[in-house]
């Protein structure tokens, strides 16, 4: 029998979490293998260009449109999402959705993972976010707090390359102490982000002026509505001797964001961070090997030690053919970094790490409610990165006893998200509004640059009923399980959506924005609360499928992100997060991954 190849560390998944692990451990001289389910097209610059071309000519401009569907490692698509009839799961796409509501978020299965198409928003969590059970009586407390994670936030901000100004991101100018985030401490008196903040858009600045002094009332208390720049994993002006990381294989390109306005689904110059960069650094250590087109499907446990003794994977020759063969490797430490849903699926399929019964449970996202309208004046829509500012002042406060908190994202791309404008809406001007020639041109010039939208990222609580499971009736082409998803949005979040809509209405009234927001029953994410209808979209923030906690009974991993059941098994990714709160999760997850890497280093020393 063939000897099973052994590595110090076997990492399943070549996305940001796997990349950080590989780079950190490779740099320590550990022999690391990364198994990647998808193709490695993006590894070279010419391969990346192929993604661009696929994007340009793909009719459907969704986050995954540059990244071809690969039936050997399928990925969910936004276009799969539909309403779910009772007792009749929707099986349109890769996910099997049992409802009652559709789970609308997606991810990417190709080398580099979902950061290939993320937006790059890199917010820290608020100190109170780590203890919402204690403060507000909802959700769960984390087994760690903000101060524990703070040094790792700094590592993650340098690792990703985040542009921002600490003096703004501490939110100390916001008249709501609940959202204040301490950046300085005894150990880091003059910490600042590696790059200066990305310039705010003309729209942001107009909005800032228009909303000055505005307050809204939530649960009987007034809160400020403040526009603040957003920290982003996007190259700007470097501070000190930090050197921005350009495109993989073409490092002079992408040293600065050039305003391509295409961060989701793909930044043409890689000015926006993607995990290909970290993986490239990992390879440069000389100790890391990446095997792509290798889908991990089973983890074997040595019953005498409870260690994960083997990782089985299916190696296929081409995404176009179902042919594969099985291979096996072993690692002193095994790290699952294959994304929240896939990590859970792999553990369930292998029946490991699940003594708590919580693997797959507590799936969360930010149900994202959009509102949109026409500004009274030209605000220069459709320019710049997807979003350069937000309204973070309602991320925290006493009102969280009553309803979900939310962060407001200010969108720079007009109605592109809600309507597909301009490309998807111009045909209607021609076919239905009967415009052509000068009139058509003038109509577009007079309205489109005034298009404006908000995105409300509403907090969702952990629930054991929102979960990923597996079912032998549903498998993919290689015979691997497809994720089966149960999902609902409870009243706490719906009440947050209702509060968000009230805030939006007040802002529109104040600025004279002509309302075009429309929620109707035909939308898959349509929900009602106290007689009013609202619609949510997916944010791509899949969190909480293998949560971290204080005991073997209440969680899947401990604070070290180590499985409670198998001492050599570590989990990384947003699945570890017990709550989602209001920040896009990846920065926090990256910080946790640097922490986990330290723990693995220690474990390997012993």
């Amino acid at each position: 029998m063939k000897q099973c190849e052994h590595f110090d560390v076997v990492i399943v998944g070549g996305g940001i979490s796997g990349g950080i692990m590989a780079q950190q451990l490779g740099a320590e001289g550990k022999r690391v293998l990364v198994l990647e389910a998808g193709a490695d097209t993006g590894k070279t610059f010419s391969g990346y260009q192929k993604y661009m071309s696929t994007f340009f000519t793909n009719l459907i401009k969704i986050p995954n449109s540059p990244f071809p569907q690969n039936l050997n490692a399928p990925q969910p698509l936004v276009t799969d999402v539909s309403k779910i009839a009772e007792g009749k799961p929707s099986t349109n796409g890769y996910f099997v959705q049992r409802g009652p509501l559709p789970f609308s978020s997606t991810y990417t299965r190709a080398l580099g993972g979902t950061t290939l198409h993320w937006l790059g928003t890199c917010l820290r969590m608020l100190p109170e976010d780590f203890k919402i059970k204690t403060h507000f009586g909802h959700g769960l407390d984390w087994p760690i707090n903000y101060d524990d994670l703070k040094p790792y936030y700094e590592k993650a901000e340098f690792g990703i390359g985040v542009a921002g100004d600490a003096d703004e991101q501490n939110y100390h100018n916001i008249d709501n102490p609940a959202v204040h985030i301490p950046f300085k401490s005894d150990s880091s008196q003059d910490y600042d982000y590696p790059m200066e903040k990305i310039p705010q858009s003309y729209l942001d600045n107009e909005m800032h002026k228009g909303l000055e002094g505005m307050t809204v009332n939530l649960s009987g208390k007034d809160y400020p509505v403040d526009v603040v720049s957003t920290p982003q994993g996007r190259n700007g002006m470097p501070r000190g001797n930090f050197r921005p990381r350009g495109a993989v294989g073409n490092p002079d390109l992408g040293q600065r964001c050039e305003g391509n306005s295409n961060c989701v689904p793909i930044c043409p110059v890689q000015a926006k961070y993607n995990a290909l960069k970290t993986l490239d650094d990992a390879i440069a250590t000389g100790n890391v090997e990446i095997r792509s087109q290798s889908v991990a499907f089973n983890l074997e446990v040595d019953p005498s030690t409870n260690q994960i003794s083997k990782v089985h994977y299916k190696k296929y020759q081409s995404p176009d053919s179902p042919d594969y063969h099985c291979e096996t490797v072993s690692g002193t430490v095994v790290v699952l970094a294959s994304h929240a849903v896939e990590n859970a699926k792999l553990m369930l399929a292998s029946n490991v790490g699940n003594s708590s019964g919580l693997v797959g449970c507590n799936l969360m996202d930010h149900p994202t409610m959009l509102t949109w309208g026409l500004m009274p004046e030209n605000i220069g829509a459709f320019r710049g990165p997807g979003s350069t500012s937000g309204i973070p002042s309602l991320r925290g406060g006493e009102f969280r006893k009553d309803h979900a908190a939310f962060r407001i994202e200010i969108g720079n791309w007009g109605w592109n998200w809600p309507t597909g404008a301009p490309i998807a809406t111009v045909p209607d001007l021609i076919d239905e509004k009967n415009l052509y020639g000068e009139q058509l041109k003038a109509h577009i010039a007079a309205t489109y640059p005034r298009m404006f939208r908000f995105g409300f990222l509403v907090e969702q609580l952990p629930s054991v009923n929102n979960r990923v499971t597996i079912d032998p009736a549903y498998k993919d082409r290689l015979g691997n399980y497809r994720p089966v998803i149960d999902y609902d949005v409870n009243d706490y979040t719906r009440a947050g959506m209702a509060a968000a809509k009230r805030v939006s209405d007040q802002i529109f009234q104040r600025l004279g924005v002509e309302q075009y927001t429309q929620y109707d029953e035909s939308q898959p994410g349509y929900v009602t609360y106290q007689g009013e209808g609202y619609s949510y979209n997916g944010a791509g923030h899949l969190v909480g499928t293998h949560i971290m906690g204080s005991s073997k009974e209440n969680s899947v991993v401990n604070a070290n992100q180590q499985s409670w059941d198998h001492p050599n098994l570590y989990l990384v990714g947003c699945g570890n997060m017990p709550t989602i709160s209001t920040s896009n999760p990846t920065l926090t997850m990256a910080a946790l991954t640097y922490w986990a890497a330290d723990n693995v280093k220690k474990a390997l020393q012993n």
Partner: protein, 166 residues
């Protein structure tokens, strides 16, 4: 329909002059798509109709173009498709009702088929919709660092007009 007439008609339909359209470098591809998919007798009729009205003064041209082309059951959908190609870089399939009465678009072995498709990478980048918005195509023709914080084009030029001294 010859290429020259195609550009002339396109200029009227889009509101961009011929030089601008030729400069985009994708007009010939659009012409090729059109002539592959729409039978030539229909295009000849479109060309003939256009030739009888193109020299009219602006207002009369607008009303005759609407009457004789856009509101014409056979020619209207073809003209609108030309316009949509220029603005969105997409070919939209001809309406079923149109195909039933006038002609089944060439469908078979050809390079192009009468289905919805983006004409090419280049066409996407050259879509006039982006220019009409006073922006640039998402993912191309990047305007440069920090440009998004500048005062938008119209406001800037209006202010310049109001304060010529500055």
């Amino acid at each position: 329909m010859n290429l020259g007439d195609f550009y002339q008609l396109s200029a009227i339909l889009t509101g961009y002059d011929e030089a601008r359209l030729q400069g985009s470098g994708v007009g010939e591809t659009y012409y090729e798509v059109l002539t592959t998919l729409i039978p030539s007798h229909i295009l000849t009729q479109l060309q003939d109709t256009f030739c009888t009205i193109e020299a009219l003064p602006k207002k009369a041209l607008d009303s005759e173009l609407r009457k004789q082309i856009l509101a014409n059951a056979m020619l209207g959908p073809v003209a609108r498709n030309i316009l949509k190609m220029w603005y969105t870089s997409i070919w939209y399939p001809m309406p079923t009702a149109w195909s039933k009465i006038y002609a089944v678009p060439n469908q078979s072995e050809q390079k192009y088929q009468d289905v919805e498709f983006i004409i090419s990478d280049d066409a996407y980048i050259q879509g006039l919709a982006w220019e009409a918005v006073h922006s640039h195509p998402m993912g191309a023709k990047q305007p440069g660092y920090a440009t998004w914080s500048f005062t938008p084009h119209d406001i800037a030029s209006a202010t310049a007009k109001r304060n010529p001294a500055k």
